[in-house]
Symmetry: C2
Subunit: 309 residues, 2 copies
């Protein structure tokens, strides 16, 4: 029988990996909200550098009441919004055999969900995949350099991890199993925790403007170095050349506005805690000073508060 996958939060990332897993032979269902009408009629149209990943889900659900099946993998690609109880959102779709897979950004995003499902296999995933949602049900995938790093939380791998990584690779992308998923999260945070907040605080600043002068480049380097200091204190030291490599890599990439900058421009909620607040709290726990990240965090909280009024 085909591996059964339920994708919860079928935005660009969820739809993309749904398409990859469908091509790997999985029976993929999705929970779609705003895109329900179009996706239930036409399925997803996914134009990818991996080829055409368009697919029609086995089932398109509006909400949990329509779910009568059992998933081998419940793939959670929800945005992490303040005050939303992710465990409660996930629970109706989880059966005893379901492995829960978090494909979400940031650091320390697992405990809340992992603790809510102590009997289920739990997988944490870090996605490198430049995808964007062009229209309801329509996704574009831009980058050759795409991979999904998967591991158990807080460490180790399992059969459920290696099987899922294999399915991602079989579907034409790159699935990688790691013993140190937290380290993989820190490696991604080296970019995310700095460039995303800065983009939002600049009112939707693009990467090349962020790195537009020696003065700002030096500051970005030091801010990334603060992320490295937290990662090391947390037991997951990053390579010492991480700040320089992140900056050089960003300048080689196309100039673009990161997700938090786009959220800010569009008046949408930002993933402040997952991307930054959790990192700051880990720093405080370890007693390491990260004044640049503390500044970004305080400024984002002010910015968010302004949106509230």
């Amino acid at each position: 029988m085909a591996t059964s996958v339920l994708v919860l939060g079928a935005g660009a990332i969820g739809a993309f990996y749904g398409g990859i897993l469908a091509r790997a032979g999985c029976a993929v269902s999705v929970v779609a909200r705003s895109d329900y009408d179009i996706v239930s009629r036409d399925g997803y149209r996914i134009d990818s550098v991996h080829g055409d990943l368009s697919f029609r889900p086995v089932q398109v659900l509006r909400d949990a009441s329509e779910w009568r099946s059992e998933a081998d993998y419940v793939l959670v690609a929800l945005k992490q919004v303040r005050g939303v109880d992710r465990a409660a959102l996930i629970r109706p779709y989880v059966s005893p055999r379901s492995a829960i897979v978090l494909v979400q950004n940031g650091i320390d995003v697992e405990p809340e969900v992992a603790q809510a499902f102590p009997a289920n296999p739990f997988i944490s995933g870090v996605a490198y995949s430049a995808v964007s949602r062009l229209a309801p049900g329509v996704v574009k995938h831009h980058s050759q350099y795409t991979r999904l790093v998967l591991g158990n939380f807080p460490s180790g791998t399992s059969e459920a991890v290696t099987k899922l990584a294999g399915l991602i690779t079989a579907g034409g992308s790159n699935g990688v199993a790691t013993d140190d998923i937290v380290g993989a999260r820190w490696a991604k945070c080296a970019w995310n925790t700095v460039f995303n907040p800065v983009s939002a605080l600049g009112g939707g600043l693009a990467t090349h403007d962020i790195l537009g002068s020696d003065e700002t480049k030096a500051w970005v380097r030091e801010a990334i170095a603060e992320v490295c200091v937290i990662a090391a204190a947390d037991g997951h030291a990053l390579p010492p050349d991480t700040p320089d490599k992140q900056i050089a890599g960003t300048l080689r990439m196309t100039n673009y506005v990161s997700s938090m900058g786009q959220d800010q421009l569009a008046g949408r909620t930002m993933e402040i805690e997952a991307l930054l607040g959790n990192a700051v709290r880990i720093a405080r726990r370890h007693g390491v000073a990260v004044p640049k990240l503390e500044s970004l965090y305080a400024l984002l909280l002010m910015l968010e508060r302004k949106g509230v009024h």
Copy 2:
């Protein structure tokens, strides 16, 4: 003969002190650009808590070619914009007997101008005066707590200083002569150097939103403490309770958007260097770490660059 005053940069501050000095019996002329037509026809309408300060300047100038007179005081209330040569703007209005009076915000704003006029009396001024320009030629002055602190740069007072302070007081406001004008600048920077940049980075954040949570209040307190550290290293220590007093005072005042926040909202140039960049450079010179102010500075430079594109 009446004391002759030329006001250069007749925005809200320039018009307000022009009105005060006119009421003190000075012969006040102004250089007006965007407001030239209305001011040359109707004079200024200034509604102040000190009473009606409306006045008709002796001469309203469009530019320096119209200036045939000599001023005892050339009062400079220009906005400090990157790349503008203030000395060159001032020079045509300065005669050997003119005292140059800078009524401008920020720190270390004097040397460039003072050095350009080594033979003239030079006065530095720090204005506390809640004024706004409601329309061309129309100014509103809100606050009882208004004073203009005046002194020679870098320290001391002179007859020109005490005479001008006396004229301000005679005109119905408060003129104060100080031996330590740089200390007075640092005292004002304790607020300006933090609240102005934060307001701009928040897309025009108001003061009470900046102080909206314990988390952001704690950050603001530490950022003000960094200003105090620079001031002390620069030989002008501020009272140790400065951060707490600034925060408490700001919460007592009306909720409002500071000038840099208003500039950012309106797409106007911000006074980044005078209010923040100069303070950061003084810190670097003294080898004191001010990572929160460095963060604000880097972020403002990015924001400014975005405006340029």
